[in-house]
Symmetry: C5
Subunit: 386 residues, 5 copies
């Protein structure tokens, strides 16, 4: 009931110009395209990289494949081994479609895995289970980067599909398989899926630690309220929103795997997934706590800005109001009334101590104002430059 055509090309090339935006919203096929339509940006010319790890308790075979068709050999030769096919990059329509055929993937499952980003979730199908997860890392720009990890698994095989060819957080799982640590080599395929999900969730911790450190640095900065702090806080909030949007549905997803009476996950593995579930919830707790801290920082910053404004106004007020009376007194004795015309006209000008008298008047006005401001607490040690 699904077709795989090349129709939505125009839509995908249009969206190619808005790369970073697409990474936030969904790479959807053209509106109303039939279910199972794969949105592959063929023009980009990217190829998929295909890695296979075939292992059993006794041995491990690890190889990069030139074509997806080579995987059939691994699936068929020995049913006792687990075959983990790791496809990186979504640029090659043929590989992805052929993978769908080899593993008998339901069109909707294939669409979920290929048309990124999908909301993390897990759906059981007859022959296999599809799990959509989200990996996280800090990009060089300091922002959080999310990448989809699609997992298809059934009896004896696990297929993972990653957005980007570059780096992932699954290397540790590969290492465990190579070194045969932790019994992973003698466990069934669903245990490998648990190991992958656990590695994905563990990947959130360093990202949150990074954000936590930045929050702590901002905590010190915020009180001083320099320019630009509000943008930094805003950026962290946005990153936290991104992480939150990635981690909330993963909780439902892991919970679904735990609870559903799926035939693809054994009871033994569920015990381990319970642990993963606890970790997802812990990550969510942290994200929410960080979000509250970031909101509090914004308040702190705004109160810092208001305090600085108060400081500026105090300086203006103190200096202005001290000099205004002085200038006024000087102005009075600068008036040109004719002192010869009458004894009432500025007699001070001819006093012997007229000038000292005027200076004394000025001094007095300064002292009165200083006393006033000190009583108000506006001047003192605090208002001097530290």
């Amino acid at each position: 009931m699904a077709d795989r055509d090349d129709a939505p090309r125009s839509s995908s090339s249009a969206s190619a110009t808005s790369r970073q935006r697409r990474s936030r919203l969904a790479r959807e096929p053209a509106i109303g395209a039939p279910p199972g339509t794969l949105v592959v940006d063929g023009a980009a010319g990217e190829r998929c990289q295909i890695f296979v790890i075939d292992y059993c308790a006794e041995q491990v075979i690890e190889k990069e494949l030139a074509s997806i068709d080579e995987v059939v050999a691994y699936l068929e030769d020995d049913r006792a081994s687990i075959t983990w096919v790791d496809i990186r990059g979504l640029g090659d329509r043929h590989t992805l479609e052929r993978m769908g055929e080899i593993f008998h993937v339901h069109p909707l499952a294939l669409e979920d895995v290929v048309n990124v980003p999908q909301r993390p979730h897990s759906d059981p199908y007859l022959e296999q289970q599809v799990v959509i997860s989200r990996m996280v890392q800090i990009a060089e720009s300091g922002n959080v980067e999310l990448e989809q990890l699609g997992i298809l698994f059934g009896k004896g095989y696990v297929v993972t599909v990653q957005e980007e060819a570059s780096r992932d957080c699954l290397e540790s799982v590969r290492e465990r398989i190579r070194r045969g640590k932790g019994g992973i080599r003698s466990a069934p395929a669903d245990y490998l899926v648990y190991a992958l999900l656990d590695a994905v969730i563990d990947g959130f911790y360093p990202v949150l630690e990074d954000l936590g450190e930045r929050l702590e640095d901002l905590e010190i900065e915020a009180a001083a309220a320099p320019r630009g702090v509000s943008q930094k806080i805003h950026r962290i909030k946005r990153n936290l929103l991104d992480v939150r949007r990635a981690v909330w549905p993963q909780r439902d997803m892991v919970n679904g795997l735990l609870r559903d009476e799926s035939a693809h996950i054994s009871k033994e593995t569920r015990v381990y997934l319970r642990d993963t579930y606890d970790h997802v919830v812990q990550v969510m707790d942290m994200v929410e706590t960080f979000r509250e801290i970031a909101s509090g920082l914004m308040d702190l910053y705004l109160s810092g800005v208001s305090n600085r404004m108060n400081e500026i106004m105090k300086v203006l007020t103190v200096i202005s109001t001290i000099f205004l009376p002085l200038t006024f007194i000087a102005g009075v004795y600068g008036m040109n009334f004719d002192t010869t015309a009458s004894p009432y006209n500025l007699p001070e000008l001819r006093w012997r101590y007229g000038y000292p008298f005027a200076l004394g008047l000025m001094l007095l006005s300064v002292l009165v104002l200083l006393w006033f401001y000190r009583r108000k607490g506006w001047i003192g040690k605090a208002s001097l430059p530290e």
Copy 2:
């Protein structure tokens, strides 16, 4: 138990003057009108456009009908074909009532479909299921525009009723039927309903992308805090509220279709609706994330405004307090004390270097204040015009 009379005419003509408002609230019949009362604005003289697409695996007939009565032929001739009747515009009472009779529509179902806007929901009736959905698009004004799509379907037929005749997001579905792609032509009527709902939900993505782009533009603007940004943020928030109000009930609606043991939806179609459900939830996630970003932007903007105020105050303070002492010194030496009356009266005026001494005094006061402000960090590279 329902009647279809022309009583509420006065109510509808009154509300005709407040068009855009009505589109936000409900086009309700007069208070207490019997259920099933159709509110049709007959004065407007609008006619409905009626399109029919009758298809089966072998052939497709597509035609615009002059009268709703012609549809009977399509329904009767061949039970194996699916008949999709698409009515656009709600201005013709006769057509709508006749449609109700032809398809044996329950009065409440007919009211839901005709009296827009209703809250998106889905109700099963004996012979058919009614689904109320909401289509979204960006109007030329840049605001989000919502339009109701009512769907009535039963065995072998689907009736869609749209508010406006102009444009919709269902063209892609028609195209799939015409080209016979994706197996839609051999699927039953409920699969067509799924295809329509999926197209409707997919229609939210470009709208959210547009809002997302505007938010990103505002993110850059907000820090500079020019006038008018707050209105722009407010407008986006309102649009997001509109989208949210459209999408939240659609989640319940799709979920209802998924869960209810409705006789009108087959188990195969439910698998596809599960996918639609994931998309609705993803849209909701985006809306909530955008709403949080918009709130954060408002904070950012307000902190920008405060920062600018600080900047202005600093300039005022620095310039005022530098010139006040200068003016005061000038004022002192502008006093008219009689220097001949006593040697204490402004002896500086007769000094050889009296004027340079006064200028030196002024320079000193400027330097002291500049040093003070630089220590406070008020002047420096940052406070000069960039």
Copy 3:
């Protein structure tokens, strides 16, 4: 187990002085009064108005009764007709108590109906069901006014008890009965209850439209941030809180009628109540949306106030800092240094072009500052009066 005494008279007369407040809180009997105590403000001397509409498919009898006892005749004469007794006003203890006796009302049900306001809810009793609802309208002051509508119904009769005698939103239902529209005359009593509740909920729409229009008007005002807008926004928020407090429990109430296996509501009527439920939820959606808009407006207003402050400060800063240097220069050349005492004392005063030189100096300082402010973007077209 209930008594109806005249004890709480003092409490009710005390509360008579705080009328508008009582309408917000509950007209409760004295603390610890036995259940079923009726709080009737006998001193007010108000009488109840009693209207009866007795109808069946063939005929309608509508009459105002002088005494509640007359109603017995309508109840007994013909069991096939539906008797709707409409009591308006709560000032007549005898009538209310007698009504309780005639219809065998449980003391708690009678208390709920008489001691307003009660939280909207619905309780089944053996012989009848009691429904407490809330009607809404815009008072002349522009504020929302809530009035309780108590409904008691059983086989063949419906008793409604309204707080105020004046006006209600049930006239349309009476009209439908009189004109026999919509099959209401041949439906059982619970259908009349549905019709009443539907009319009550429909009565929320014009109120919300009014509030919506006021919000839109404020949206335009808020940006200009004149005084008094914050109070207007606050008043709308309070009205929305009142509406919300009225509508939230009505949802539970309608839902309760829908779900409960009450013997008093037939399956056919439930289908109609489902429609009413959708409308209540739509009203709630609108209220929540309006509340969010109102909150956004407050932010918009505050940012407008800040912007205006910035504007004022800019004018002060620009004008002050332009004139301060000018005044200083004038002050310098107003100093009285003895130009005859030395060539260093203000030689400019005796220059041929001394005055033009001073004016030139002033012009220069103005130009420098104007250039500075234009670079900062403080002056330009935007800062001039529009």
Copy 4:
């Protein structure tokens, strides 16, 4: 498994110095004390007051007891009567422990009743039910005061334990028993419990009315934004938080009594408790509404403060900028350029109408600025003192 020792004396005497705080947090035994440890502040020397009301349909005996042991007689003499033992004050360890023995109270139930404050809840035990409730009143300071009411009841008896000996809101229930109103004398013990809980909940209404009145007063004050309003709003918010913390768990408590299949509450009493439940929910609604209003008031107040700042700034700006040009012009004609040295040096000084010309110049500058400010809307009727 519980012991009642005098160990935590030190802890309780320490906490005696922080009376008002203890009333907010819990009077807990020393950390890790065994369950059932009673925290009695023996040093305070307070005694309990013990009142007993023993009633049946025919007679009422009301008496203050000297010792808790006297109660045994009432319990045993006649099983048909209901014995209500009302203990006021928590200062007498012996009485409380003895009461525990007489009524066979589970140690945990006794701890709940004695160690105040506990969270309102209700727990069924084998022989009796314990209900912890919270009474509220307005203290003389105007703040809300909460007091715990512990209720233990079983067949034929009700024991109430109050924190303070002084006043309570249960007098009306006693009066009903004395006067035999409302059938309370012929009802079982659980009906008395309902009557007590209903009186407790009714006691919230006058408190909320008081807070509501204060909010309304503040509503008028807030717009004028005098100092101290923010503290008043904050105080009301705190009081509302206190009420909320008291009423939320009471809802769960009443709901628990309603739903639990407790053997201690009869079906008839449940009907009455349903009414109490509606009242608790109504109180909660009010508290939440008041909290929202109080939050809105804070916004209103802050906008009032900002408006006043604008007002002040306008006055400063208008007056400053009007006088600055004037002073400048005066300064120019106060310069001492030698008018004899050249015709370019201040020729105005020797003009016949030089002084009027200068005055005219000043007037012109004033008019220009006034026109400017009027166009900006800064001056007019609104900015004059009212």
Copy 5:
């Protein structure tokens, strides 16, 4: 399926430099490490302290062990006694691993107990139950410090694992065992677990009392709005977030113990846990209330800052605008118009009472402005220094 290797050494030594951060996030093994990997910071050289209390109704043995192996003797000798092994400090890998072997601990359970912090939760395993809890105390810095308490228990034994060797809140439980109070010595192991959890929860009360006192102090400070209050409020908010993050999952944890049909907890103990559950909920209520108060304080503080700004602006405005007209008048009579050239040129200068006239003019302008400001309410008793 788990291995215990020394691989993640590098990760743990890296994180040793960021001590306080680690205490906030989780001490996780390297990403993707197999489940059950213990993260032990061997380089730190810390040793575990091991205490054992073996008790039955008749006797108590309390001892510090040199090696975990000695515990086997206590477990085996007498099955009727309860053995409580208390391990403090997480620095000794061997001890922790050996403990895992002795008690047959599931790798995931061991990981939960050792790799701190884990989210509080409780998981049943076949032979034992693991409970992760969080203890709280106020550090010397005044901040809240959280420490994990892991509890493993089965038939006849309880193992507790604490993060830090120093101090805990369990001493009171030990004292109860030593003195045989409250029947703890004759109760089974799960009752000891209840006693430990109850002590942990009781430990939250003094912390909250401390925070409550600080909030009350800040309440007085906030209105005066001195600098630094916002930081203090922020710090309390952060502490409350920490407490909240510790206490929320504990509610679920205790609830889980209450509800789960775990074989490790007897029905009798559940009654006591119900009491603990009430306490956890009470702590949560307090935390939420405190959080609301802290938010309110921030508003109070910001309104205080705004009020102070108003105060400053008023002083500036009053003083500036009083002296500006004075200076202007003085300036006018300082102009040098040639009074001999025309009778229109400043005739006042030659008046007999010219100077008194000028002074009178100044006095008048002062009086007018004072009257204006008094009418506006800007000056009066309130604006003078208190």
